[in-house]
């Protein structure tokens, strides 16, 4: 099943022309990349510049966004919390990534998240609305997900979940850039890149929590970011994923970027003093061959 065929299925299903649920199988070649995973980490106060710096070792934005691409930049905007409270991705980081994608010649850049608190409050209080309003480019589309555009997808390689409703734009994106914020989470200990992909799911997402680690890995077989940038400019150490108490926030001024979503999560885990093996989704995704979690096998570059 190649990507083109998959997109055709999504289009047919959306248009009501097909009742068979789209399904997507990743080729073995894609899953078993032999090169060591490359990961960049950078620290600095100027987040605009920091984004530039952390992408440097990976080849810059041009490596991930080609002219005319449909780009999805997927931050975490899940909570009605302000930027200082570390519950959502920092708006300046998102803004910088969007600008870079636009500069790289993207056909359009879509930014959205399915929120947990009321949609508009999250978009406003996360600072995202203000930050993105500053970009005057009609290729940028910052919107609330449209209920009509969730497409059921059969997760062929799924071990714990066989079907999920996924937002159409996320499936159709040429370049999907995942921009989670690194923070504490009661059930999974941390929420990082793989967990952030839940923002493109429709339906009853709470059911994901029953065997969350494996289900996130299953989701990762379909939602495959070309680039993961983990926002650790400030991290939430407790009372996550929502926070609200500034005493639980630690400022690290750090960004982590990698093509390998598992490697990005594995490395970001160490920022909390934890080991990659302690995060179930990392272990499960590694087990499915979706990426590297062994820090000794990841080429880590301090940019």
């Amino acid at each position: 099943m190649d990507r083109r065929e998959f997109l055709r299925q999504v289009a047919l299903w959306s248009a009501g022309l097909s009742v068979s649920v789209p399904h997507f199988r990743i080729g073995a070649a894609l899953a078993a990349e032999s090169q060591p995973s490359l990961l960049a980490s950078a620290t600095g106060k100027d987040y605009q510049e920091l984004v530039d710096r952390v992408l440097g070792p990976l080849g810059g934005m041009g490596k991930f966004v080609r002219r005319g691409d449909k780009v999805v930049v997927k931050p975490n905007i899940g909570w009605d919390r302000n930027p200082g409270q570390a519950a959502n991705t920092h708006p300046q980081v998102v803004r910088a990534l969007v600008e870079q994608a636009l500069d790289a010649g993207a056909g359009e850049v879509l930014v959205f998240d399915r929120t947990c608190n009321e949609e508009r409050r999250c978009y406003v209080n996360s600072g995202m609305e203000d930050a993105l309003a500053g970009i005057k480019d009609n290729r940028l589309k910052f919107f609330h997900p449209d209920e009509r555009k969730y497409v059921p997808v059969d997760i062929e390689r799924g071990k714990a979940v066989s079907r999920l409703e996924i937002y159409r734009d996320a499936l159709e994106a040429d370049s999907y850039i995942n921009v989670p914020v690194a923070k504490h989470h009661g059930l999974s200990r941390l929420t990082l890149g793989l967990k952030n992909s839940m923002g493109v799911l429709g339906g009853n997402r709470g059911a994901m929590h029953h065997n969350l680690g494996q289900k996130l890995a299953d989701l990762a077989t379909v939602i495959r970011p070309r680039l993961t940038v983990i926002d650790a400019t400030r991290i939430l150490l407790n009372n996550g994923p929502q926070g609200g108490d500034l005493g639980d926030v630690r400022v690290l001024d750090t960004l982590v970027a990698s093509v390998d979503p598992v490697a990005a999560d594995a490395y970001a885990t160490t920022l909390f003093g934890l080991k990659p093996e302690e995060i179930e989704s990392t272990v499960a995704a590694y087990g499915m061959g979706l990426g590297e979690m062994d820090l000794t096998k990841i080429r880590i570059i301090k940019a």
Binding site: A15, G16, N117, E118, R121, E147, G206, H209, H210, N211
Partner: protein, 526 residues
Amino acid sequence: MNNKKRIPAYYWRRASQLVCLALFFFLFIRTDYSGRDKIEYAVNILFRIDPLLALSASVAAGFFIVLMLPAVVTLLLTLILGRFFCGWFCPMGTLLDGCHTMASPQGQGRERRYRSLKFYLLGFLLVGAWFGLPLAGYVDPFSILVRSLALAVDPALNALATTFFTFTYQQAPAWVNGLTEPLYTFLKATILPFNQKYYDLTVLSLVILLVVFLLERLERRFFCRNVCPLGALLAVTARFSLLRGRAGAKCGNCRNCRDVCRMGAIDEERNISPLDCNLCLDCIHHCPGNKISFQFSGIHKNRPTFALSRRSFVGSLALGAALPFFLKSRTLARQADPLLIRPPGALPEEEFIGRCVRCGECMKVCIGNGLQPAFLQGGLEGMFSPILKARTGYCEYNCTLCGQVCPSGAIRKLALKEKKKEKIGNACFDRNRCLPYAKGIPCMVCEEHCPTPDKAIKFREVVVENSRGEKVSVKQPYLVDELCVGCGICETKCPLPGVSAVIVTSAGESRNPAQALPDTGNTGYP
């Protein structure tokens, strides 16, 4: 307001009606989160200029509610102008006028039989409010209108639009979508609500509104002439009004004025009763001899009588005084319904229900879709008052909108800081259903969503035997009463089908000390 040569006088009245109606719809749509924590328009002004609600709520409260001061202006203007409010302003009246073609041809109706009904109703409502049975909001025209629009019409309109545009999105060719999608975007940005809301009592709300409209079949403005207690209060005031219509002495007895009068205010001798006349000015236009004029005159000696039956009027007052005592012997009087969870800032129940005008503004504005009209949870007299139904929606932690739109202060306007300290209920877990307890399955969605900075829902990690007999380690949630504000997001988001495994009740609500929870020794709010 005199008889202009070129522009007929009633044009001004129509213009006023249309402007007021447009303003009404504008404020209705703006009764929503706008991207700021504060509502920018006085969206509740309609209810604050309503003297019936102001009087009823004040009588129930035992003092004048300052928030409703604008209602005094309405009464003062009525003292001068008569029932202009009904003819020139009232959006319900305008909508009724708009569909007057519904009225049957013979329906000009000079039937006076029901005319006094509204006065009996007014007496009953005010006496009832005093003795503890506040029902004005049931029949107030603004309450009926806004409530029905908010609970029934608006959500239905959105459902219709969604259905239509989903159909075009899925089935129509691309060129059709090129037209419909921008239209949908435009409608969403303007008149449609931000998202689909779901309400209890939708059909009942709609039926009440429809009945008001269907009564037009009997005669024009049937509701205004015979039922509307606000109209009754204005009529009582208009009895002393200075602006009066009068027909000239010599007229040809054509009776055009009587036929055209939408309020049935003109009698056989062409006297225009200020109790009924709503100054629509149609009669001026239809009088072939230009005999009718509206003029200010001094204090009137001969005031029109109400033509009430003393026995009926006293009876309705007695009913208003007696009925409340039947409420005191219900089980509800002894034990409040634990699911009667009031919005944050709600006054203690008796004061709350006295002041609540059942306008539906708080339910319209509730962005979590948590506030629902009560059915019988608060007794018959509590119908349409707001309660939090946490399975449908929840109280957004950082939101204070309901207190901002409440026109009578039944829900106090709270600063965010105060609101966060307001406990409206308490969550409790049903361990027979909650997955980590009952099945050994990990879940913790409730804990994830719990919004207090120090989470009220915490967990213990324990080893249990799951339903397959395996020993597994799971996190089991528990509640810290002192931290829980009763927002209900845990109940809304509980991923179990059907009944939630975590349920919020009014136990521990801060407005009622009698509901205090046992002291657990936790320090509570930091």
